[in-house]
Symmetry: C3
Subunit: 424 residues, 3 copies
């Protein structure tokens, strides 16, 4: 998928009113499934998932605040951000003063509408720009939220690209945010593009599992239902904010030096980027990295959680997301996939002295030159460090040689019978 | 005790002629005991203590050098620094030339009187300013030291503030220096103030032991008599030079990364300070940190051993010591006590995924805001790292959150049944 | 040996036509043996050595390219670099165009003759300056190489300076390069000088083994024939490029933190120098540091392998090598020998508190001075860290005191019965 195609997917998903449950979420998964077929799971309200319980399902049809003239000064049809997520139904006529406790604005960004939710405390509310609020008189206002909060299900979807090994690479995207483009439709679109590109590989070492689930409760639900599977997760990433123009940011897994952490640091080193240590907030790496699971799951974003002015506001719209930024995120992920797929350990089968590479046609015959060729250097590095303790990535970092050159060297040496893969 | 009260104690102790034994030392311990009651130990001359032997007890009544006119050009009554500590008695009439070998001056600081001792080699001597020496003619001079060096005792005092645990925090001050104010009456005064403040705490986790003993031989004597107790010393500090206007200096224990080392580095990080590695000279951390004991005892000073121009001279008088500097030292120690008392390890009892804090009233109900409150962040950090491997201080250093906020969070989580203290 | 004497040895060896086998190599070892008697080993063609096979022996008597007038435009008698090493015999008349594929020049350094070899692929060739090539017309040219490539032997020599222990320090020099002075006649000359100086020591802790062998195949042959001995190699260095005016360079052994690595870093710290991590190319540290052997063998050079413009050209002549540079290399090696010989671990026999040094005459009797003398400080450091875990070099690095002062202190303390050597 090109950047433009990913951007088209963002725009198509943008208007839907997603939440942690409900039909907006289902429709989102349906559209994702058109590009990357999903296995859907519906978990009933009341189900215990780890320390949590699946909440009632929330669906909303309409909501508005009408002024005395009947005009909709705040209108859900214009933007689903106008309603606090999980608002209970309400129909009342209130003065502005009575209404104020239910209104959320951003006084410092007066033209933007904030994004607010109240999943676990029953209330209702509206979000609007401070500019709009400033124009509102005393009222009275007719307030209506046509929503239902009732027993139902929490829905999530999984797409699997199978590989030779049952060991998995997990890519997890939250899909619960309504009309917010970078957070996280851009992440969703990049994940879909990555899934499609992986499917085109002639062979894959790892199985790749994409989880599209609501934030927090969705990841917790997936973990609760896949507790025994987590041992198969060799590497993982949460993917979010994948399309803004900021530089790439990798946040290390809780382990701090997992292979995924090494791989992302390696592929990012030649691009503008930021590396962050794990912290127990942000996206669902919080759950994957809870101490009981402690999975090797880092987080790739461009601008980070909470760090850009449009974050969780109506400013996070499709214009904030750039096709070329999503392409850059995708290419970075692809580079990481290359390294993950090729990052093996080997055993030098001729470890005493250097083997005679020239006799095997692997080494230039004319001696004395100091400009030893890269391919020859790569073979010397691989031979020297293939003592079962160093991965190819370790060798790349130590030698500062390109990973691909070392992987080529390993292949040549393996073909010559000088190296064999080492399975611990 | 206020800074002024500590300074008053320094001034009161200043005139006494202390040494490693004798009545000046006893009187000093008596005055300390008025504020912090001491258990005194008297160890007889000749007692073997580790590799050493308790020396004879030294007491001095008077000493002078009289010029041909009978005037006291060097007078012990003016300053006890004028006599080399442990000088044997002498009464003789000598020319200046004969006397010179017994006179100590500081040619580079001509107006100051040096501090000199000769505990373990029998001799006698006088200390005087170079300025005074320069005015002295050929003599003859009547020289008299009215001192006794005889079998007696070495005296030290201990003050204990009991806590829940038999595990101890050791605070050790040398009390053998005569009229020197910063080194170490300021350390003594701050220790007394700390002891009194600790006594006011409603409860203490640790038992705090204050040792007031002569330098080197006193610490060695205490160690010799408490060899089996040393296993109870969980943390310790020598405290000296606690009142000069210089920045605080912490010298790490021999272990280098003991908890006391971490705690002091942590409480000092927001103040002007210097951190030093352990070195086997300085104060009695040399003895506590000898390889056989290897106790986790660091050293807190302001200006360090030997580093300020007034060090071991008559310039180290009560004017060098500032009430506000002693208060600053005391507050730093108090901050360290807070961390030591609260620095526990916990076990997250709900380690799979985050527990639902909102359902327990521990988490704000309105979602979407990026300004997660400090208390909530602190809970997330404590939960995430309470895997029995991280202390609260580890979490404070990793999260850069205030220790107190994390300790509060741990308390809330413990009350909610989500955490329990982990005893290794 | 003085710098001038080492330089004389370089000049004497320079004209010989060395290769990895043959009489030039034998004559070189004979001359070395005049200063440092060698045990010679001759290994027959066809012998398997590790993954390699001893090649046929090469000897050359004459070679030239004559122009149509009969003048020798390229003449082996002028410089043995003019013939590609291991060229097979040839006698033919060829046009310049036919000849070109057998001619090697350095177009970027047109006045220099390159050094080339073809040990393991049968061919022949000439090396000449680009300037010469540019003067050559179409020919025809009479080309002649009077060489033999026939069954014979590979020769290497060993010089051993015995010590108390069977544990060895290995110094390895390649001796296969023809008329190249810095690489490696300077290394050979410094090694010879070191051997002679070691022999003058009244006693040596280690046995010192000097190996003079052709590069790569020679080291591999030595390793193949001494496989069981390699366990005796406690420390080692390859020595090359020891005489150019560049700064000293130490390349760490594959282990990276072997004692030899610590020692060289320590002795170099006060001189201009470069420290490099191990890399599997360069000199014979490649073979000693192959993963099967993984010996603690680093590499000492001045300018490094391939890094100076004269490297492997006719510019690497005796003028490039400076007597004072070879002396500096030798003194650095000598400093390293001092540390290796003295770097022991000790056990403090009085580890509880400081022992009373004054009572043993080891400590100044006058107290109070802050200018503790270096000898006393050194004793305190040695006592404090002699817990069997720290070597004297560890103590030198931690204390920043001179190694020699600590070694003196250890001797004094050992004589006083306070310390004993610790044999693990």
């Amino acid at each position: 998928m090109t950047g433009e195609e990913m951007h088209a997917l963002v725009r198509r998903l943008y208007p839907l009113c997603r939440s942690i449950t409900g039909d907006g979420l289902r429709r989102t998964l349906e559209i994702i499934g058109e590009s990357a077929p999903l296995r859907l799971t519906e978990v009933p309200t009341g189900t215990k998932v780890l320390d949590w319980t699946i909440p009632r399902e929330w669906n909303i049809r309409d909501a508005s605040i009408k002024d005395p003239s009947g005009a909709r000064v705040v209108d859900f049809q214009e933007s689903n951000l106008h309603v606090v997520g999980y608002s209970v139904p309400v129909h009342a006529t209130l003065s502005l003063d009575e209404l104020r406790g239910h209104l959320h604005t951003l006084p410092d960004q007066p033209h933007l509408v904030p994004y607010r939710t109240s999943y676990y405390a029953e209330t209702w509310g509206f979000c609007l720009s401070q500019d709009t609020l400033d124009t509102m008189g005393e009222g009275p206002y007719e307030v209506r939220i046509d929503a239902t909060l009732a027993d139902g299900h929490l829905t999530y979807g999984e797409h699997v690209v199978p590989g030779e090994s049952a060991q998995e690479v997990l890519i997890s995207c939250h899909v619960c945010h309504p009309s917010l483009a970078n957070d996280n439709l851009a992440g969703v679109a990049v994940a879909v593009a990555l899934a499609r590109r992986l499917a085109e590989l002639p062979e894959r070492r790892y199985t790749y599992r994409f989880v599209f689930a609501p934030g927090t409760i969705g990841a917790i639900t997936w973990l609760a239902r896949n507790r025994e599977r987590t041992g198969l997760i060799s590497h993982g990433l949460t993917l979010a904010c994948a399309g803004d123009p900021g530089r790439l940011t990798y946040k290390r897994s809780r382990r701090g030096d997992a292979e995924i952490d090494q791989v992302l640091a390696y592929v990012l080193k030649d691009r503008p980027h930021t590396l962050l240590d794990f912290a127990p907030y942000g996206y669902d790496e919080r759950q994957y990295g809870s101490p009981g699971f402690n999975l090797p799951v880092g987080s790739l974003t461009r601008s980070t959680y909470g760090s850009y002015p449009e974050y969780h506001t109506s400013g996070d719209d499709p214009d904030l997301v750039r096709p070329e930024a999503m392409e850059d995120t995708l290419e970075t992920l692809w580079a990481a996939v290359q390294v993950l797929e090729g990052n093996r350990r080997y055993q030098n089968l001729s470890p005493y002295g250097e083997p005679q590479l020239g006799a095997r046609g692997l080494y230039g015959s004319l001696g004395g030159r100091s400009d030893t060729k890269e391919a020859q250097l790569a073979m010397l590095w691989v031979l020297n460090l293939s003592d079962t303790e160093h991965s190819l990535l370790d060798i790349a970092r130590r030698s500062t040689m390109p990973f691909a050159a070392l992987a080529d060297a390993a292949r040549s040496l393996q073909n010559a019978g000088l190296l064999k893969e080492w399975i611990s």
